[in-house]
Amino acid sequence: MSGEPAAPGGRPAPTGTPVPAVLVMHGELGAALLHAAASVYGEFGDVQVVSNEGLEREAIEARIAEAVAHWRNGGLVLTDFWGGSCHTCALAASRGHGDVRLVTGVNLPMLLDYLHNRGAYGVDELAERMQQKGRDNIRTQRSPAA
C-alpha cells in the first residue's frame, strides 16, 4: 500500500493548515455557492468571495490579489468559467505566486469536495481532486419509465 496515510473513514489524515481558497465568480454566484454548500456541509468560515460585478479589470485583480497576499503556503482560486474576467483576472493577480492553483468550472460537488478535504491534501492534489470530482458529477440520465 502506498499513497496517502489512511484515517478512519478512508480519508487521509490532516496534514496541517487547511488550504485556503477564494471564489471569484460572476454576480452572486460565489456567495450563493457558499450558502448552498453550508446547507449540505454545515457552517464553515474562512472561504472568501470576490464578485466581478460592476468592476473593471484592475479592481477585480486588486480584490483577488488582496486575498492571495494573505496565503503563506499557496491556495486555490476557484472560478466559474474559462476565459471569463474572473478567470483571466485571477491569472493576472496570482502571477508570480507559484503555489497558487486556479480551478475553473467550479460547481457545488467540487466545492463540497474542497471543504471535506482542504485539511488533508496539498494545493496541487486538491486542485486535481476537484477537477476529477467536477467531471465525475456531470452526467446525463433519461428519466425513468412511469
Binding site: 460592476g54 468592476l55 473593471e56 479589470r57 479592481a59 468559467f81 476565459g83 483571466t88 493576472a92
Partner: protein, 161 residues
Amino acid sequence: MSWLLHRIDDRLIHGQVLIAWGGRLSPVRIWLADDAVAASDWERQLYVDSAPGIDVRVVGVGAAAAAWGDEAAAAGGAFLLVRDLATALRLVEGGARVEAFNVGGLHYAPGRTRLNDYVYLGDADRAAARSLLARGVRLDAQDVPASRAQSLAVLEPTLVP
C-alpha cells in the same frame, strides 16, 4: 466584410464577449488592439489562451489599424476589441474605417460618472467620444445582444458636436 463587431470594453476578452456575442455571431478571429497587452508576453498569452478555438491576435493599435482593411476582406467573421474610447479613436485616426463601436463596458473608476449600469465616462473618455461622433462613428452602448442598444449621443446629448 469579415467584421462582425467592434467593441470598447475595459475587460477586453471575457464572458460577455465569448459567450453572449461569440455565441450569437461565431467569430473565428478576435483582434485585441492594445499597446500594453501586445508589449507583455504573459498578458498576450493570457488572452490567447482565454478563447479556445478562436484565433486571438493581440496587436498594437497602429498594427491593428494597418491590418483592418485586409481583415475586412478575409474569410470568416472577426471581432475587434479595445479597452477605451481613446484607443478606439486612435484606431480610427490610424485608418480603420469603423462605422460603429459597440460600447460594452466602461466600468466605474474614480473621476468617471455614470451613463448607465455599465458605462461610466471621465473627461478623457468624453473628449474621445466627441471626436468619434464628430467623425460620424456611431457609439452604441449594449453589453450583451439581449439588451437594447442605446446611442451614447442619446444617453448624453452634450457629446454630440
